[in-house]
Amino acid sequence: MATVRRQLFQDPWEFRESILFTAAAVLAGFLIQIASAGKGIPQPHLPFNALFLALLAVTVISAGLAFKNNPVVKWLGGIPLGLSLILAIALLSLIGGVVPQDTGATGSIAVRFGLSSIFSSWPFALTVIFFLVNLGIGLSWKLVPFKMQNLQFILFHAGFWIALSCGIFGSTDLQRLIIPVDEGKSGNIGFTMQGEEPHQLPFSVFLHEFSLEEYAPNLLLYDPATEAQTNFDVHKGLTTSWKGSDVLVVDYLPSAMPTEDGTLKPVASKGLPFVKVRISSDGRHEEGWVGVTLPSQKPVPVKIGNLLVLLWPGNPKAFRSAVTIQGDNGQTLMANLEVNKPVGFMGWKLYQMGYDEKAGRFSKLSLIEAINDPWLPAVYLGFFMIMAANVLFFWNGIKRSNKA
């Protein structure tokens, strides 16, 4: 018996209908994007985005359950549409992964089509909303009636729904403000990355001290004749041979300052590294001090024989700000802010962000970033549900292979 090929839009709908629908959604998204002159999607804040999401969740789940046997709802919550939408999100992300984001010139094609802000563009938003509908309906079928064997499916899909929806719709309520503070002063004004109008924060940050630690400097040997160079991490007693010369680090002062008579005096903090180098070549010896210059200055090489010897500053190892944070409600907190070690205060998180790079270790300025994200707990709930689903997967997988 010859198989009769199903007509387009003849029940049950499958991949062709799904791909057409998805393509139409993406196309519509681009048309709205162009029609709205690249303004992008409306960005509702709390409580409106939360209301919209709650409404979406309730509608999708109840529609999925109430019209379980309706062919259109079956298709809306099915894998073919889900797959098409996943591929559409992947393709739109591909644009975002290739076209530089948030940098396009006004009026350029990338800006008008929303390509340079793809993740807040209409095509992306529409695709994600349809994907949430698809995922939600599929989820509703596994939720009711609840069965233990569906737990992994529920955790993964519900976790993904929550993380994706709250991450995207909650991004409008994310506040990231940079507070510049000088040593001995306090600041309570934050600026956005785009440097728009200043925002008053509900607390102030007083900077006691900014300090920067560097890795050991690099000793750079340079031969101007051949433009060859080599470098080493400096430590006292370092010996090496290069181009027929023997190099020895006689002394290494990690932190010192030159005095008025030209000698070097070690200081506990805020000094510069210096090394005393001896170079021997063809029975001749030469010895001299080489120091690191500030990042803003041009390094001064020391010429020994036909070699130039430079001391290159090490990369920053750690930088931290000793601060006192004082809230408008009278609450205070003393803390050390450091990269990777943010501090929480009144629902905000404070991060060590940067410093005056021209001044390097002598910077008196610290840039502190204050971040407030009311949606974070919801997104993390989604993350942990997905991870729990993964742990269950291992557990079930192991149990199954034991039975086998």
């Binding site: 894998i79 797959l83 591929l87 591909l94 530089p100 090490g314 971040i371």
Partner: protein, 266 residues
């Protein structure tokens, strides 16, 4: 001195794998050669394992930062997957591909010895560093093996010799890889919150990690919808290309100019 040590270790490993593979192939005719072949192949991997341990100690930090260092881990771990698959499912062809892939990674490292740098920038000094990278590494190892298995299945398919176990191997490796990819992605997000202030900023590396995750998510759904397994072997074989772009291709894309994942600072 570093370069010499790596060259020695890499060469020793590659010789062990090559001889081990030859003995393995010869053991079809002379079964007595089977055991020495397996032992030699495992020795090759063990040499690299010892080298990594020594190198970690020498650097004073986990050797997981540069692309060359991650390739070293791959070269060590991919053959291991091949050995485990042989042990568990009695499928011996996968290990040859795995050793070949590992040799390829070692050769890249031999041709591009990287400037050796012990420093770790402040953002990378975090307890998240090791779990994030290790989980990704294991995930990529499984997916590389899955892709290799799928490519072998495609080859068999073209000669009309497909087997049920063949597509099963590529399928299970893909599932395992996907689970690790998911953990890696979420660990990365949790770390980003601590280091950069937000869990997701559509940084090019994040975007590409998300893309590769979606590629395998799509595979799993296509598979559960009973799409022809032979077509899916093509898909699985090619999916690894997305991972490769994410792994080292991102640095060359125009979008990477502001990425926090390009560690080559001025």
């Amino acid at each position: 001195m570093m370069a010499i040590d790596f060259t020695t270790a890499a060469t020793a490993a590659m010789i062990c794998w090559a001889v081990g593979a030859l003995l393995g192939i010869a053991s079809v005719k002379i079964p007595a050669l089977k055991m020495p072949g397996i032992i030699l192949a495992i020795t090759g991997t063990a040499v690299l394992g010892v080298y990594i341990a020594w190198y970690w100690n020498f650097l004073g930090r986990p050797p997981l930062r540069t692309l060359g260092e991650t390739r070293l881990w791959y070269a060590t771990l991919i053959p291991l997957v091949g050995f485990i698959v042989e042990f568990r499912w009695k499928i011996s062809w996968l290990k040859y591909y795995c050793m070949g892939l590992a040799t390829f990674f070692l050769v890249i490292n031999l041709m591009h010895p990287e400037v050796f740098d012990k420093t770790l920038m402040p953002a990378l000094q975090s307890p998240w560093f090791v779990p994030h990278v290790v989980v990704y590494l294991v995930g990529y190892v499984f997916l590389a093996a899955s892709s290799t298995a799928a490519a072998h299945n495609v080859y068999l398919g073209l000669r009309s010799k497909t087997t049920e176990t063949g597509s099963m191997v590529s399928h299970y490796l893909a599932i395992l890889g996907f689970v690790f990819l998911t953990f890696g992605l979420i660990f990365g997000a949790l770390w980003a919150k601590e280091a950069w202030g937000h869990y997701w900023t559509w940084d090019p590396k994040e975007t590409w990690a998300f893309l590769s995750w979606l590629a395998y998510l799509a595979y799993l759904h296509a598979n559960s919808y009973k799409i022809d397994r032979n077509k899916l072997q093509w898909y699985l074989a090619l999916s690894f290309i997305v991972l490769l772009v994410c792994w080292f291709g991102v640095n060359y894309l125009p979008s990477s100019q502001n990425s926090v994942h390009t560690y080559t600072q001025s």
